[in-house]
Amino acid sequence: MAEKIMAYRFDRLDQTLSQLNKEDCAILAGGTDVMVMYKSRRGVPPIIPKPIVFIDHLSELKQVYQNQKDLHIGACCTYSELLGNPLIPLVLKKAIKTIAAPAIRNRGTLGGNVCNASPAGDTLPLLYVYNAKLLLRSAKGERIVAISDFIQGVRRIQREPNEILAEIILPSVLEESAHVIFEKVGNRNADAIAKVGFAGYIRLNDAVIDDVRFAFGAVGPTMVRSMDIEKMLLGKTIPLADLDIAQVVAAFDKIIKPIDDQRSTAIYRKTVALNLLRYFLSMKQFQHN
């Protein structure tokens, strides 16, 4: 017979936080990652080693709202809910649409994608170039942490046992003028795990680069981003000189260190990552400017 499972499902967030303050639990939102990670075999439940707390129904975690120029996204919004929300930037919707398939998007949450911290997480490159901040709530209070500090390694996040990710905040995203792109490279057109992910962000003042950001996914244990390399391009005018492009590519060549695995090869991942970067830097999308 199955062992006794402890599971909690409270009506309100404060009750949930109170329980998390007493016990270290496995938090389950949509479950599309957790149920696979702890999957046993056919016909039996997954083997989850801790008591479980269900949170995907909590309305406090499903709010999407604007605060000045910042966009606040509830961590338990499903991908489908975000696709239907007019406040969500188009490029983020584009990234979400590359995730799995409709049935998964009806369940999976943005907070889940962040807390799962997979090296191939589809929304992560974009959240990184948005300089996303995470609002963590606990019975003791709340704190805000940068996503690049929160995600520390493969499936490793800096979350205290009594904390829940409540909101993903995209600062200044509702301000105009930044051009953001996202590309996911998978093995097929749906239900694919990213082999390479790339997000690029650029803000121009006439033809001068005011701000530029890059993040690469699926080529390292966490997203690869480098403020130092980004600084190399500040103040330069577009179209960029070949030498400038080459320097940025060479700099990333040194720090992108992907692996071979059952999906792809290191050499493919690195080559394609740099190809996408080069293509972005060539500013072919801006020819009309």
Binding site: L28, P46, P102, A103
Partner: protein, 158 residues
């Protein structure tokens, strides 16, 4: 006790919260229309509606659907919409071995109730989470297209 409705009937169970909805439907409720093809949310053979939303039951622990309205293929079998899909799948030759079909029909119904007149691309996106190895999909796309035409007016946003 976990309570929810299944095909309109109230269900109450003391099964553990981590039991997969798929296993509950098949082993506890003895409904066989919802099939296991992969157990990992990759094939769509286990598709059900949760509060009118298409989801993979192999990834749903019953603890998380407390109070929800669950519908399996058995729950839509008597509807007008199903009859149109039934006819359309037959006329378009969309059924071969049949194992993916209950899931496909659920996905078709979900698609058409969101989007009563989908384009070919929208149809392909709508069933992109349902794997079929026999048909190569094209005749299934035809079936859904046919159902959209035949069922004009029947499909409406819920």
């Amino acid at each position: 006790m976990i309570k929810f409705t299944l095909n309109g009937k109230p269900v109450e169970t003391d099964a553990p919260a981590t039991v997969r909805l798929l296993d509950f439907i098949r082993d506890n409720q003895l409904l066989i229309g919802t099939k296991e093809g992969c157990g990992e949310g990759e094939c769509g053979a286990c598709s059900v509606f949760v509060n009118n939303s298409l989801q993979n039951s192999c990834l749903i622990p019953i603890g998380s659907i407390e109070g929800a309205d669950i519908v399996t293929i058995e729950g839509i079998m008597e509807s007008e919409q199903f009859k149109i899909l039934d006819e359309s799948y037959s006329n378009a030759g969309g059924v071969q071995c049949g194992y993916c079909i209950p899931g496909m029909v659920m996905a078709s119904a979900a698609l058409l109730s969101q989007n009563p007149h989908p384009s070919e691309t929208e149809i392909r996106e709508g069933i992109s989470g349902n794997l079929c190895r026999c048909t190569g999909y094209n005749m299934i796309v035809d079936a859904i297209n046919l159902a959209a035409k035949k069922g004009d007016g029947l499909w409406q946003k819920k």
